[in-house]
Protein backbone atom coordinates (compact mmCIF):
# COMPACT_ATOMS: atom_id res chain seq x y z
CA UNK A 1 0.00 0.00 0.00
CA UNK A 2 1.25 3.44 -0.85
CA UNK A 3 1.49 5.95 1.97
CA UNK A 4 -0.93 8.85 1.68
CA UNK A 5 -2.77 10.87 4.29
CA UNK A 6 -6.14 9.48 3.22
CA UNK A 7 -8.59 7.49 5.27
CA UNK A 8 -8.32 3.77 4.53
CA UNK A 9 -11.42 2.16 3.15
CA UNK A 10 -12.86 -0.70 5.22
CA UNK A 11 -11.81 -3.10 2.47
CA UNK A 12 -8.22 -1.87 2.49
CA UNK A 13 -8.15 -2.27 6.24
CA UNK A 14 -9.64 -5.76 6.26
CA UNK A 15 -7.29 -6.94 3.56
CA UNK A 16 -4.30 -6.00 5.73
CA UNK A 17 -5.95 -7.28 8.90
CA UNK A 18 -5.83 -10.95 7.93
CA UNK A 19 -2.07 -10.87 7.81
CA UNK A 20 -1.81 -8.94 11.06
CA UNK A 21 -3.87 -11.45 13.02
CA UNK A 22 -1.69 -14.28 11.78
CA UNK A 23 1.48 -12.74 13.25
CA UNK A 24 1.01 -14.61 16.51
CA UNK A 25 -1.33 -17.32 17.67
CA UNK A 26 -3.28 -15.03 20.04
CA UNK A 27 -4.44 -13.02 17.03
CA UNK A 28 -6.20 -15.89 15.30
CA UNK A 29 -9.99 -15.76 15.27
CA UNK A 30 -10.15 -12.23 16.66
CA UNK A 31 -13.57 -11.04 15.45
CA UNK A 32 -13.99 -7.27 15.30
CA UNK A 33 -17.72 -7.36 16.01
CA UNK A 34 -17.30 -9.37 19.21
CA UNK A 35 -14.51 -7.04 20.27
CA UNK A 36 -16.72 -3.99 19.76
CA UNK A 37 -19.52 -5.69 21.63
CA UNK A 38 -17.19 -6.25 24.59
CA UNK A 39 -16.12 -2.60 24.47
CA UNK A 40 -19.79 -1.55 24.57
CA UNK A 41 -20.10 -3.27 27.95
CA UNK A 42 -17.28 -1.17 29.45
CA UNK A 43 -18.80 1.12 32.11
CA UNK A 44 -18.42 4.90 31.91
CA UNK A 45 -16.03 4.96 34.87
CA UNK A 46 -13.56 2.87 32.89
CA UNK A 47 -13.70 4.87 29.65
CA UNK A 48 -10.59 6.89 28.94
CA UNK A 49 -12.08 9.49 26.61
CA UNK A 50 -14.85 10.35 29.07
CA UNK A 51 -12.47 10.65 32.00
CA UNK A 52 -10.25 13.01 30.04
CA UNK A 53 -13.08 15.16 28.75
CA UNK A 54 -14.54 15.36 32.26
CA UNK A 55 -11.20 16.47 33.67
CA UNK A 56 -10.77 19.07 30.96
CA UNK A 57 -14.21 20.52 31.66
CA UNK A 58 -13.61 20.53 35.42
CA UNK A 59 -10.21 22.14 34.89
CA UNK A 60 -8.32 19.47 36.80
CA UNK A 61 -5.25 17.37 36.05
CA UNK A 62 -5.41 13.58 36.30
CA UNK A 63 -2.46 11.47 37.42
CA UNK A 64 -1.39 8.30 35.64
CA UNK A 65 1.64 6.13 36.43
CA UNK A 66 3.61 3.81 34.15
CA UNK A 67 3.59 0.15 35.18
CA UNK A 68 4.21 -3.24 33.65
CA UNK A 69 5.37 -6.69 34.75
CA UNK A 70 5.57 -10.06 33.01
CA UNK A 71 2.54 -11.94 34.34
CA UNK A 72 -1.20 -11.29 34.44
CA UNK A 73 -1.35 -11.98 38.17
CA UNK A 74 1.59 -9.68 38.83
CA UNK A 75 0.07 -6.94 36.69
CA UNK A 76 -3.25 -7.16 38.54
CA UNK A 77 -1.53 -6.90 41.90
CA UNK A 78 0.54 -3.97 40.65
CA UNK A 79 -2.36 -2.01 39.19
CA UNK A 80 -4.62 -2.57 42.19
CA UNK A 81 -1.86 -1.21 44.42
CA UNK A 82 -1.51 1.91 42.26
CA UNK A 83 -5.27 2.35 42.19
CA UNK A 84 -5.94 1.74 45.90
CA UNK A 85 -2.79 2.89 47.66
CA UNK A 86 -1.35 5.30 45.10
CA UNK A 87 -4.64 6.95 44.24
CA UNK A 88 -4.06 6.91 40.48
CA UNK A 89 -6.85 8.43 38.35
CA UNK A 90 -6.01 6.42 35.23
CA UNK A 91 -4.13 3.14 34.83
CA UNK A 92 -1.47 2.11 32.34
CA UNK A 93 -0.16 -1.13 31.05
CA UNK A 94 3.42 -0.59 30.05
CA UNK A 95 4.38 -3.12 27.39
CA UNK A 96 7.77 -4.88 27.59
CA UNK A 97 10.57 -4.12 25.14
CA UNK A 98 10.56 -7.49 23.36
CA UNK A 99 6.90 -7.05 22.46
CA UNK A 100 7.70 -3.56 21.20
CA UNK A 101 10.06 -5.17 18.69
CA UNK A 102 7.49 -7.91 17.90
CA UNK A 103 9.79 -10.53 19.41
CA UNK A 104 7.03 -12.58 21.03
CA UNK A 105 9.19 -15.68 21.16
CA UNK A 106 11.65 -13.96 23.49
CA UNK A 107 8.76 -12.96 25.74
CA UNK A 108 8.07 -16.63 26.41
CA UNK A 109 11.47 -16.98 28.12
CA UNK A 110 10.79 -13.84 30.14
CA UNK A 111 7.34 -14.97 31.25
CA UNK A 112 8.53 -18.44 32.22
CA UNK A 113 11.54 -17.21 34.16
CA UNK A 114 9.36 -14.60 35.88
CA UNK A 115 7.00 -17.31 37.03
CA UNK A 116 9.91 -19.48 38.17
CA UNK A 117 11.81 -16.75 40.06
CA UNK A 118 8.78 -14.86 41.36
CA UNK A 119 10.15 -11.55 40.10
CA UNK A 120 9.53 -9.92 36.75
CA UNK A 121 12.29 -10.59 34.24
CA UNK A 122 10.54 -8.37 31.69
CA UNK A 123 10.32 -4.59 31.87
CA UNK A 124 6.65 -4.61 30.95
CA UNK A 125 3.55 -6.63 30.21
CA UNK A 126 3.72 -8.87 27.12
CA UNK A 127 0.12 -8.24 26.08
CA UNK A 128 0.33 -10.09 22.75
CA UNK A 129 1.57 -13.26 24.42
CA UNK A 130 -1.16 -13.05 27.07
CA UNK A 131 -3.76 -12.48 24.36
CA UNK A 132 -7.34 -11.31 24.75
CA UNK A 133 -7.95 -13.78 27.54
CA UNK A 134 -5.18 -12.46 29.75
CA UNK A 135 -5.76 -8.83 28.82
CA UNK A 136 -9.48 -9.06 29.62
CA UNK A 137 -8.78 -10.78 32.94
CA UNK A 138 -6.52 -7.85 33.78
CA UNK A 139 -9.04 -5.28 32.61
CA UNK A 140 -11.85 -6.83 34.60
CA UNK A 141 -9.79 -6.94 37.79
CA UNK A 142 -9.18 -3.17 37.94
CA UNK A 143 -11.59 -0.27 38.45
CA UNK A 144 -10.17 2.52 36.30
CA UNK A 145 -9.67 3.22 32.59
CA UNK A 146 -6.81 1.21 31.11
CA UNK A 147 -4.31 2.30 28.47
CA UNK A 148 -1.55 0.52 26.55
CA UNK A 149 1.76 2.43 26.80
CA UNK A 150 4.66 1.09 24.82
CA UNK A 151 7.03 2.24 22.06
CA UNK A 152 6.13 -0.13 19.25
CA UNK A 153 6.81 0.78 15.61
CA UNK A 154 4.41 -1.95 14.42
CA UNK A 155 1.67 -2.06 17.05
CA UNK A 156 -1.07 -3.45 14.82
CA UNK A 157 -1.55 -6.83 16.48
CA UNK A 158 -1.00 -5.36 19.94
CA UNK A 159 -3.65 -2.72 19.26
CA UNK A 160 -6.14 -5.32 18.02
CA UNK A 161 -5.66 -7.38 21.17
CA UNK A 162 -5.83 -4.61 23.76
CA UNK A 163 -8.84 -2.88 22.19
CA UNK A 164 -10.65 -6.23 22.06
CA UNK A 165 -9.91 -6.51 25.79
CA UNK A 166 -11.69 -3.37 26.94
CA UNK A 167 -8.67 -1.10 27.17
CA UNK A 168 -9.87 2.32 26.04
CA UNK A 169 -6.70 4.15 25.10
CA UNK A 170 -3.58 3.42 23.08
CA UNK A 171 -0.36 5.41 23.11
CA UNK A 172 1.88 5.86 20.09
CA UNK A 173 2.25 7.13 16.56
CA UNK A 174 4.08 6.54 13.31
CA UNK A 175 6.78 9.09 14.11
CA UNK A 176 6.88 9.12 17.90
CA UNK A 177 7.03 5.30 18.18
CA UNK A 178 9.59 4.94 15.42
CA UNK A 179 12.26 7.66 15.53
CA UNK A 180 12.98 7.27 19.30
CA UNK A 181 12.29 3.51 19.42
CA UNK A 182 13.81 1.92 16.33
CA UNK A 183 17.07 1.88 14.41
CA UNK A 184 16.12 0.89 10.88
CA UNK A 185 12.33 0.77 10.51
CA UNK A 186 11.35 3.07 7.64
CA UNK A 187 8.98 5.93 8.34
CA UNK A 188 6.73 4.88 5.44
CA UNK A 189 6.36 1.53 7.18
CA UNK A 190 5.63 2.86 10.67
CA UNK A 191 3.30 5.57 9.39
CA UNK A 192 1.31 2.97 7.45
CA UNK A 193 1.24 0.66 10.46
CA UNK A 194 -0.02 3.48 12.68
CA UNK A 195 -2.60 4.43 10.07
CA UNK A 196 -3.81 0.88 10.62
CA UNK A 197 -3.93 1.40 14.41
CA UNK A 198 -5.77 4.70 13.96
CA UNK A 199 -8.15 3.27 11.37
CA UNK A 200 -8.94 0.48 13.85
CA UNK A 201 -9.90 3.15 16.38
CA UNK A 202 -11.93 4.85 13.65
CA UNK A 203 -13.84 1.63 13.05
CA UNK A 204 -14.64 1.29 16.74
CA UNK A 205 -15.80 4.92 16.61
CA UNK A 206 -18.07 4.17 13.66
CA UNK A 207 -19.57 1.37 15.73
CA UNK A 208 -20.22 3.73 18.62
CA UNK A 209 -17.17 3.12 20.80
CA UNK A 210 -14.81 6.00 21.46
CA UNK A 211 -11.17 5.01 21.94
CA UNK A 212 -8.62 7.60 23.07
CA UNK A 213 -5.33 7.92 21.18
CA UNK A 214 -2.19 9.53 22.55
CA UNK A 215 0.83 10.39 20.39
CA UNK A 216 4.03 10.14 22.44
CA UNK A 217 5.18 13.70 23.07
CA UNK A 218 8.56 13.36 24.81
CA UNK A 219 10.19 11.61 21.79
CA UNK A 220 13.75 10.89 22.99
CA UNK A 221 13.09 12.69 26.28
CA UNK A 222 16.41 14.44 25.95
CA UNK A 223 16.45 18.22 25.50
CA UNK A 224 13.77 18.16 22.81
CA UNK A 225 12.85 21.78 21.97
CA UNK A 226 9.08 22.29 22.46
CA UNK A 227 8.43 23.33 18.87
CA UNK A 228 9.93 20.08 17.55
CA UNK A 229 7.75 17.85 19.70
CA UNK A 230 4.70 20.06 19.21
CA UNK A 231 5.12 19.83 15.44
CA UNK A 232 5.31 16.03 15.65
CA UNK A 233 2.25 15.97 17.94
CA UNK A 234 0.16 18.06 15.57
CA UNK A 235 1.30 15.98 12.61
CA UNK A 236 0.42 12.69 14.28
CA UNK A 237 -2.86 14.19 15.45
CA UNK A 238 -3.75 15.17 11.89
CA UNK A 239 -2.89 11.70 10.58
CA UNK A 240 -4.93 10.04 13.34
CA UNK A 241 -7.89 12.35 12.81
CA UNK A 242 -7.90 11.51 9.10
CA UNK A 243 -8.33 7.82 10.01
CA UNK A 244 -11.33 8.65 12.18
CA UNK A 245 -9.85 9.15 15.67
CA UNK A 246 -12.03 11.55 17.70
CA UNK A 247 -10.34 11.65 21.12
CA UNK A 248 -6.73 12.78 20.98
CA UNK A 249 -4.39 13.49 23.87
CA UNK A 250 -1.29 15.33 22.70
CA UNK A 251 1.85 14.98 24.75
CA UNK A 252 4.78 17.05 25.91
CA UNK A 253 7.78 16.03 28.02
CA UNK A 254 8.86 18.35 30.82
CA UNK A 255 11.88 20.46 29.92
CA UNK A 256 12.36 21.80 33.43
CA UNK A 257 11.96 25.50 32.67
CA UNK A 258 8.60 26.24 34.24
CA UNK A 259 7.53 29.08 32.00
CA UNK A 260 8.60 27.27 28.84
CA UNK A 261 6.83 24.10 29.97
CA UNK A 262 3.59 25.97 30.61
CA UNK A 263 3.91 27.83 27.32
CA UNK A 264 4.53 24.59 25.44
CA UNK A 265 1.41 22.84 26.74
CA UNK A 266 -0.82 25.86 26.21
CA UNK A 267 0.32 26.61 22.69
CA UNK A 268 0.23 22.90 21.81
CA UNK A 269 -3.47 22.72 22.65
CA UNK A 270 -4.32 26.01 20.89
CA UNK A 271 -2.29 25.38 17.76
CA UNK A 272 -3.44 21.77 17.40
CA UNK A 273 -7.06 22.86 17.60
CA UNK A 274 -6.41 25.40 14.84
CA UNK A 275 -4.85 22.78 12.56
CA UNK A 276 -7.63 20.28 13.24
CA UNK A 277 -10.27 22.90 12.54
CA UNK A 278 -8.52 23.95 9.35
CA UNK A 279 -8.29 20.29 8.35
CA UNK A 280 -12.02 19.86 8.90
CA UNK A 281 -11.60 17.39 11.76
CA UNK A 282 -13.83 17.39 14.82
CA UNK A 283 -11.64 16.11 17.60
CA UNK A 284 -11.69 16.24 21.40
CA UNK A 285 -8.22 17.59 22.16
CA UNK A 286 -6.67 17.07 25.59
CA UNK A 287 -3.06 17.26 26.73
CA UNK A 288 -0.66 15.08 28.67
CA UNK A 289 2.40 16.39 30.49
CA UNK A 290 5.19 13.86 31.08
CA UNK A 291 7.25 14.38 34.21
CA UNK A 292 10.98 14.65 33.51
CA UNK A 293 12.06 11.91 31.06
CA UNK A 294 15.82 12.45 31.34
CA UNK A 295 18.28 11.11 33.86
CA UNK A 296 17.21 11.24 37.51
CA UNK A 297 19.26 11.70 40.68
CA UNK A 298 20.04 8.40 42.45
CA UNK A 299 18.96 9.90 45.78
CA UNK A 300 15.26 9.29 46.39
CA UNK A 301 14.59 12.60 48.16
CA UNK A 302 16.15 14.49 45.25
CA UNK A 303 14.08 12.36 42.88
CA UNK A 304 10.96 13.49 44.77
CA UNK A 305 12.05 17.05 44.02
CA UNK A 306 12.11 16.26 40.29
CA UNK A 307 8.78 14.41 40.43
CA UNK A 308 7.06 17.24 42.27
CA UNK A 309 8.45 19.91 39.95
CA UNK A 310 6.81 18.00 37.11
CA UNK A 311 3.53 17.83 39.01
CA UNK A 312 3.69 21.57 39.64
CA UNK A 313 4.36 22.37 36.00
CA UNK A 314 1.50 20.11 34.85
CA UNK A 315 -0.91 21.79 37.27
CA UNK A 316 0.18 25.34 36.46
CA UNK A 317 0.00 24.60 32.72
CA UNK A 318 -3.45 23.10 33.07
CA UNK A 319 -2.56 19.82 31.36
CA UNK A 320 -5.41 17.31 31.33
CA UNK A 321 -3.17 14.48 32.52
CA UNK A 322 0.28 14.01 33.98
CA UNK A 323 2.43 10.89 33.60
CA UNK A 324 4.14 10.23 36.89
CA UNK A 325 7.76 9.30 37.64
CA UNK A 326 8.95 7.72 40.87
CA UNK A 327 11.72 8.02 43.47
CA UNK A 328 13.26 4.84 41.96
CA UNK A 329 13.59 6.39 38.53
CA UNK A 330 17.39 6.32 38.40
CA UNK A 331 17.32 2.56 39.04
CA UNK A 332 14.87 1.73 36.25
CA UNK A 333 11.56 -0.02 36.82
CA UNK A 334 10.19 0.94 40.28
CA UNK A 335 8.66 -1.35 42.88
CA UNK A 336 4.93 -0.94 43.27
CA UNK A 337 5.51 0.88 46.55
CA UNK A 338 7.86 3.43 44.98
CA UNK A 339 5.45 3.83 42.08
CA UNK A 340 2.61 4.60 44.49
CA UNK A 341 4.82 7.12 46.28
CA UNK A 342 5.35 8.98 43.03
CA UNK A 343 1.60 9.17 42.50
CA UNK A 344 0.90 10.25 46.09
CA UNK A 345 3.43 13.07 45.94
CA UNK A 346 2.04 14.11 42.55
CA UNK A 347 -1.58 14.04 43.70
CA UNK A 348 -0.77 16.13 46.78
CA UNK A 349 0.80 18.72 44.50
CA UNK A 350 -2.00 18.63 41.94
CA UNK A 351 -4.71 18.97 44.57
CA UNK A 352 -3.00 21.80 46.40
CA UNK A 353 -2.60 23.62 43.09
CA UNK A 354 -6.12 22.80 41.85
CA UNK A 355 -7.65 25.93 40.39
CA UNK A 356 -4.26 27.65 40.26
CA UNK A 357 -2.83 28.37 36.84
CA UNK A 358 0.22 30.30 35.75
CA UNK A 359 -1.06 33.85 35.21
CA UNK A 360 -0.87 35.27 31.69
CA UNK A 361 2.12 37.60 31.39
CA UNK A 362 4.16 39.25 28.66
CA UNK A 363 6.96 36.72 29.24
CA UNK A 364 4.56 33.77 28.91
CA UNK A 365 2.98 35.26 25.78
CA UNK A 366 6.40 35.80 24.22
CA UNK A 367 7.47 32.20 24.88
CA UNK A 368 4.19 30.89 23.45
CA UNK A 369 4.61 33.10 20.40
CA UNK A 370 8.13 31.80 19.80
CA UNK A 371 7.04 28.16 20.06
CA UNK A 372 4.06 28.86 17.82
CA UNK A 373 6.20 30.53 15.16
CA UNK A 374 8.85 27.79 15.21
CA UNK A 375 6.21 25.09 15.01
CA UNK A 376 4.55 26.82 12.08
CA UNK A 377 7.87 26.99 10.19
CA UNK A 378 8.26 23.24 10.63
CA UNK A 379 4.71 22.30 9.69
CA UNK A 380 4.60 24.68 6.72
CA UNK A 381 7.68 23.02 5.30
CA UNK A 382 6.28 19.52 5.91
CA UNK A 383 3.16 20.55 4.04
CA UNK A 384 5.24 21.95 1.18
CA UNK A 385 7.49 18.88 0.94
CA UNK A 386 4.43 16.62 0.93
CA UNK A 387 2.78 18.70 -1.76
CA UNK A 388 -0.18 19.08 0.57
CA UNK A 389 0.00 15.56 2.04
CA UNK A 390 1.18 15.50 5.68
CA UNK A 391 2.04 11.78 5.63
CA UNK A 392 4.27 12.05 2.58
CA UNK A 393 5.55 15.35 3.94
CA UNK A 394 6.55 13.73 7.23
CA UNK A 395 8.69 11.13 5.45
CA UNK A 396 10.37 13.74 3.25
CA UNK A 397 10.84 16.12 6.17
CA UNK A 398 12.82 13.54 8.13
CA UNK A 399 14.83 12.69 4.99
CA UNK A 400 15.63 16.37 4.55
CA UNK A 401 16.32 17.03 8.23
CA UNK A 402 13.42 19.47 8.34
CA UNK A 403 12.12 17.43 11.24
CA UNK A 404 15.05 16.31 13.38
CA UNK A 405 14.86 14.74 16.82
CA UNK A 406 17.92 15.08 19.07
CA UNK A 407 19.65 11.87 20.17
CA UNK A 408 17.27 9.60 18.28
CA UNK A 409 18.49 6.06 17.46
CA UNK A 410 16.77 5.93 14.07
CA UNK A 411 18.96 6.01 10.97
CA UNK A 412 16.10 7.84 9.26
CA UNK A 413 16.60 10.83 11.52
CA UNK A 414 19.16 13.38 10.33
CA UNK A 415 20.62 14.01 13.78
CA UNK A 416 22.07 17.34 12.67
CA UNK A 417 20.05 19.50 15.05
CA UNK A 418 21.53 20.06 18.51
CA UNK A 419 19.70 21.59 21.48
CA UNK A 420 21.02 23.23 24.64
CA UNK A 421 19.69 25.23 27.54
CA UNK A 422 19.82 29.01 27.62
CA UNK A 423 20.96 30.85 30.74
CA UNK A 424 17.53 30.59 32.38
CA UNK A 425 17.24 26.87 31.63
CA UNK A 426 14.87 26.97 28.65
CA UNK A 427 15.70 24.57 25.82
CA UNK A 428 16.88 26.31 22.65
CA UNK A 429 18.31 25.30 19.26
CA UNK A 430 22.11 25.31 19.24
CA UNK A 431 22.72 23.71 15.81
CA UNK A 432 19.86 24.07 13.34
CA UNK A 433 20.87 21.43 10.82
CA UNK A 434 18.33 21.80 8.03
CA UNK A 435 15.48 23.19 10.11
CA UNK A 436 13.43 25.66 8.02
CA UNK A 437 13.47 28.53 10.52
CA UNK A 438 13.45 32.21 9.64
CA UNK A 439 16.65 34.11 10.23
CA UNK A 440 14.91 35.98 13.05
CA UNK A 441 14.15 32.77 14.92
CA UNK A 442 17.68 31.48 14.40
CA UNK A 443 19.20 34.73 15.61
CA UNK A 444 16.97 34.73 18.67
CA UNK A 445 17.91 31.16 19.66
CA UNK A 446 21.57 31.86 19.08
CA UNK A 447 21.54 35.08 21.09
CA UNK A 448 20.02 33.32 24.09
CA UNK A 449 22.75 30.67 24.00
CA UNK A 450 25.47 33.28 23.60
CA UNK A 451 24.14 34.97 26.74
CA UNK A 452 24.69 31.73 28.64
CA UNK A 453 28.11 31.26 27.12
CA UNK A 454 29.16 34.71 28.34
CA UNK A 455 27.83 33.97 31.83
CA UNK A 456 29.78 30.71 31.95
CA UNK A 457 32.89 32.10 30.33
CA UNK A 458 33.09 29.40 27.65
CA UNK A 459 31.99 29.11 24.03
CA UNK A 460 28.67 27.64 22.91
CA UNK A 461 29.66 24.01 22.28
CA UNK A 462 28.78 20.31 22.39
CA UNK A 463 30.22 20.22 25.91
CA UNK A 464 27.28 22.38 27.01
CA UNK A 465 24.91 19.79 25.58
CA UNK A 466 26.62 16.93 27.44
CA UNK A 467 26.62 18.96 30.65
CA UNK A 468 22.91 19.68 30.23
CA UNK A 469 22.08 16.01 29.69
CA UNK A 470 23.60 15.05 33.05
CA UNK A 471 22.65 18.20 34.99
CA UNK A 472 19.35 17.06 36.53
CA UNK A 473 20.81 13.79 37.75
CA UNK A 474 23.54 15.88 39.39
CA UNK A 475 21.06 18.23 41.02
CA UNK A 476 20.74 21.24 38.71
CA UNK A 477 18.86 22.09 35.53
CA UNK A 478 21.55 23.92 33.57
CA UNK A 479 24.85 22.06 33.21
CA UNK A 480 27.34 24.71 34.32
CA UNK A 481 31.10 24.26 34.46
CA UNK A 482 32.10 23.42 38.05
CA UNK A 483 33.82 26.77 38.65
CA UNK A 484 30.67 28.72 37.77
CA UNK A 485 28.64 26.60 40.21
CA UNK A 486 31.06 27.02 43.08
CA UNK A 487 31.30 30.78 42.52
CA UNK A 488 27.55 31.28 42.46
CA UNK A 489 27.22 29.16 45.62
CA UNK A 490 29.89 31.40 47.18
Amino acid sequence: MELKNVKWSADQFLAVRDGVLKQWETGHNLALERAVEYQRSVPLAKRFADALLGAKEAGITLAQPRAGVATVEGQIELLLHLQQVGGADLLPVTIDSYTRQNRYRECIVGIEESKATGRSMLNGFPAVNHGVEGCRALFEAVGLPLQARHGTPDARLLSEIVLASGWTSNEGGGISYNIPYAKSVSLERSLLDWQYCDRLVGLYEEMGVRINREPFGPLTGTLVPPSMSNAVMILEGLLAAEQGVKSLTLGYGQGGHLLQDVAAIRVLEQQAEEYFRDGGYEVEVTTVFHQWMGGFPQDEAQAFGVVCLGAQAAALAGATKVIVKTPHEAAGVPTKEANAEGILATQQTLRMLRGQRMAPSPALEAEMELIRAETKCLLDKVHELGEGDYAIGAVRAFQAGVLDVPFAPSQHNAGKMLPARDNSGAIRYLEFGNLPFTQEIKDHNRALLEERARFEGRPVSFQMVIDDIYAVSKGTLVGRPEKVISTSRR
Binding site: N123, Q298, P334, P409
Partner: protein
Protein backbone atom coordinates in the same frame (compact mmCIF):
# COMPACT_ATOMS: atom_id res chain seq x y z
CA UNK B 1 48.17 3.04 17.24
CA UNK B 2 44.83 3.46 18.91
CA UNK B 3 43.16 0.48 20.63
CA UNK B 4 39.87 -0.45 18.99
CA UNK B 5 36.77 -1.06 21.10
CA UNK B 6 33.19 -1.99 20.21
CA UNK B 7 30.33 -0.26 21.99
CA UNK B 8 26.60 -0.77 21.64
CA UNK B 9 23.26 -1.25 23.39
CA UNK B 10 22.20 -4.88 23.59
CA UNK B 11 18.86 -6.56 22.97
CA UNK B 12 15.57 -4.76 22.28
CA UNK B 13 16.87 -1.66 24.03
CA UNK B 14 16.73 1.66 22.15
CA UNK B 15 18.27 4.05 24.72
CA UNK B 16 20.47 6.11 22.43
CA UNK B 17 21.66 9.04 24.51
CA UNK B 18 24.18 7.33 26.78
CA UNK B 19 25.53 5.49 23.75
CA UNK B 20 26.32 8.82 22.07
CA UNK B 21 28.04 10.11 25.18
CA UNK B 22 30.10 6.92 25.56
CA UNK B 23 31.18 7.26 21.94
CA UNK B 24 32.23 10.87 22.54
CA UNK B 25 34.08 10.20 25.79
CA UNK B 26 36.02 7.09 24.68
CA UNK B 27 36.95 8.74 21.40
CA UNK B 28 38.23 11.78 23.29
CA UNK B 29 40.16 9.39 25.55
CA UNK B 30 42.10 8.09 22.57
CA UNK B 31 40.30 4.90 21.63
CA UNK B 32 39.15 3.92 18.18
CA UNK B 33 35.43 3.48 18.88
CA UNK B 34 33.31 1.18 16.73
CA UNK B 35 29.73 2.04 17.69
CA UNK B 36 27.12 -0.49 16.59
CA UNK B 37 24.35 1.53 18.26
CA UNK B 38 21.12 0.44 19.89
CA UNK B 39 19.10 -2.74 19.35
CA UNK B 40 22.21 -4.84 18.85
CA UNK B 41 22.41 -8.61 19.20
CA UNK B 42 25.31 -10.61 20.69
CA UNK B 43 26.17 -11.60 17.12
CA UNK B 44 26.35 -7.92 16.07
CA UNK B 45 28.89 -7.26 18.83
CA UNK B 46 31.04 -10.25 17.91
CA UNK B 47 30.99 -9.63 14.17
CA UNK B 48 32.02 -6.02 14.72
CA UNK B 49 34.82 -7.09 17.04
CA UNK B 50 36.17 -9.62 14.53
CA UNK B 51 35.94 -7.22 11.58
CA UNK B 52 37.75 -4.41 13.38
CA UNK B 53 40.17 -6.37 15.54
CA UNK B 54 38.74 -4.89 18.69
CA UNK B 55 40.30 -5.66 22.06
CA UNK B 56 37.26 -4.85 24.19
CA UNK B 57 33.48 -4.95 23.96
CA UNK B 58 31.49 -2.50 26.06
CA UNK B 59 27.88 -3.59 26.38
CA UNK B 60 25.20 -1.16 27.59
CA UNK B 61 21.78 -2.17 28.83
CA UNK B 62 19.42 0.41 30.27
CA UNK B 63 16.04 -1.25 30.14
CA UNK B 64 16.24 -4.15 32.60
CA UNK B 65 16.47 -7.11 30.24
CA UNK B 66 20.25 -7.26 30.57
CA UNK B 67 19.97 -10.45 32.56
CA UNK B 68 18.42 -12.30 29.63
CA UNK B 69 20.25 -10.48 26.83
CA UNK B 70 23.80 -10.89 28.13
CA UNK B 71 23.86 -14.58 28.96
CA UNK B 72 26.29 -16.58 26.82
CA UNK B 73 28.20 -13.64 25.34
CA UNK B 74 31.48 -14.83 26.86
CA UNK B 75 30.94 -18.33 25.49
CA UNK B 76 30.12 -16.93 22.02
CA UNK B 77 33.34 -14.90 22.14
CA UNK B 78 35.33 -18.02 22.85
CA UNK B 79 33.63 -19.97 20.09
CA UNK B 80 34.58 -17.14 17.75
CA UNK B 81 38.20 -17.36 18.86
CA UNK B 82 38.07 -14.10 20.87
CA UNK B 83 39.31 -15.67 24.07
CA UNK B 84 41.30 -12.58 25.16
CA UNK B 85 38.39 -10.18 24.71
CA UNK B 86 37.82 -7.73 27.56
CA UNK B 87 34.06 -7.60 28.27
CA UNK B 88 32.45 -4.70 30.15
CA UNK B 89 28.78 -4.25 30.90
CA UNK B 90 27.00 -1.29 32.44
CA UNK B 91 23.62 0.37 32.98
CA UNK B 92 20.40 -0.61 34.73
CA UNK B 93 21.08 -4.29 34.21
CA UNK B 94 18.10 -5.89 35.92
CA UNK B 95 14.45 -5.01 36.33
CA UNK B 96 14.00 -2.72 39.33
CA UNK B 97 16.08 -1.47 42.22
CA UNK B 98 18.32 -4.29 43.43
CA UNK B 99 21.46 -4.44 45.51
CA UNK B 100 24.30 -3.64 43.10
CA UNK B 101 26.78 -6.05 44.70
CA UNK B 102 24.45 -8.94 43.91
CA UNK B 103 23.94 -7.77 40.35
CA UNK B 104 27.68 -7.34 39.93
CA UNK B 105 28.36 -10.89 41.12
CA UNK B 106 25.78 -12.22 38.71
CA UNK B 107 27.36 -10.53 35.69
CA UNK B 108 30.92 -11.33 36.76
CA UNK B 109 29.82 -14.95 36.91
CA UNK B 110 28.59 -14.61 33.30
CA UNK B 111 32.16 -13.79 32.33
CA UNK B 112 32.22 -10.00 32.23
CA UNK B 113 35.49 -8.44 33.38
CA UNK B 114 33.86 -5.40 34.93
CA UNK B 115 30.30 -4.36 35.78
CA UNK B 116 29.25 -0.70 36.08
CA UNK B 117 26.27 0.84 37.85
CA UNK B 118 24.80 3.94 36.19
CA UNK B 119 26.28 6.35 38.70
CA UNK B 120 29.93 5.48 37.99
CA UNK B 121 31.61 8.47 36.29
CA UNK B 122 32.74 7.62 32.77
CA UNK B 123 36.30 8.70 33.60
CA UNK B 124 36.48 5.67 35.90
CA UNK B 125 35.52 3.32 33.09
CA UNK B 126 38.08 4.98 30.83
CA UNK B 127 40.81 4.53 33.45
CA UNK B 128 39.82 0.90 34.01
CA UNK B 129 39.98 0.17 30.32
CA UNK B 130 43.44 1.68 30.03
CA UNK B 131 44.57 -0.58 32.87
CA UNK B 132 42.90 -3.72 31.58
CA UNK B 133 44.36 -3.26 28.10
CA UNK B 134 47.77 -2.44 29.53
CA UNK B 135 47.86 0.99 27.90
CA UNK B 136 50.12 3.76 29.13
CA UNK B 137 48.29 7.06 29.53
Amino acid sequence: MKATIVIGVIGADCHAVGNRILDHVFTEAGFHVVNIGVLSSQEDFISAAIETGARAILVSSLYGHGEIDCRGLREKCEEAGLSEMVLYVGGNLVVGKQDFATVEQQFLAMGFNRVFSPDVPLEVAVRNLHEDLGLVV
